[in-house]
Symmetry: C2
Subunit: 178 residues, 2 copies
């Protein structure tokens, strides 16, 4: 059968490395204006940006028009051998992500591989996933630039403060919606 | 700081290639008993199996105890060069997946790469994603065994019957929960 013609105006373009993490927590690379039509479908309440650079004006206008709240916890990018994911910023980031008032929420950095990957890895630690599967998922999104030091950060992350905070605020366990 | 001791009894082990697709539609490789504790957290209503082989008894017992409904649309596995994904079975599979009465639902085959990858690719076609991003996602899960013929199946899949069915049953557009 002939394939129906595609109306290219209605094709949606998610950002690279876009995926749902759990329920209405999403991840991606740095979103561009070509992705805005897709992003509106997510009905985002918040966006959490993990890079330190300022958004271009076209982005802040879009977020403003959509009523999307911006959180920014900037972590330096890749300048190996000086790459270090900061424990305390990841802790603050998780608190933002777990808060139901901020969901639906999109987490992004630049490529959606390393900073985002570390954050999602820590979320999976809180979900009690095995390190094997946490690292498998990390590598899916980081390939071909997997960093053992990211995986080690995830493995050794001290969740004490987060567990206390989550208990006070009834944020864990993180449950799959049904 | 010293890392807290892990109580290995409470570590959850998702199946390999597990991921949410959209809302309460999930994908994975063939789940094993070691994954059952994790699967109960998903509160599945249904499981859609894309391989033709029968489940072992330990699986059917688990599904029965959890009140999970089983759908099976068996498609042959890899016997290249005779690999062919059947259009009509994919169509029936999508109808099952889109039905809200069957969700939360887990889609799986053997490795969660090819048969599952084709089904999710067609779902993304219905979501109007660009082929570029559809294929990116396909490759994430199929690597290192990506099949161009799977991608071509997704690209050339004739969605006419599905669109008609979905319109009659108000199943599209598939909306992200919020």
């Amino acid at each position: 059968k002939p394939r129906l013609s595609i109306n290219k105006d209605i094709i949606l373009t998610p950002p690279e490395n876009f995926a749902p993490v759990i329920n209405q927590i999403y991840r991606s690379s740095f979103p561009q204006p070509t992705n805005f039509a897709f992003l509106t479908k997510l009905k985002l309440k918040s966006v959490l940006c993990l890079i330190p650079e300022e958004y271009p004006e076209i982005h802040t206008n879009f977020f403003q028009n959509e009523g999307i709240k911006l959180f920014q916890l900037g972590m330096s990018g890749n300048k190996e051998p000086f790459v270090k994911i900061p424990h305390d910023l990841i802790t603050e980031a998780i608190k933002i992500v777990l808060d139901p008032k901020n969901q639906p929420i999109l987490i992004h950095c630049n490529r959606g591989k390393h900073r985002t990957g570390c954050l999602v890895g820590v979320l999976r630690r809180l979900q009690k996933w095995s390190l094997t599967i946490i690292f498998d998922e990390y590598r899916k999104f980081a390939a071909p630039k997997e960093r053992p030091m990211d995986q080690q950060f995830i493995e050794l992350y001290d969740e004490t403060e987060l567990l206390n905070y989550a208990e006070e605020n009834q944020l864990l366990p993180l449950k799959w919606n049904y």
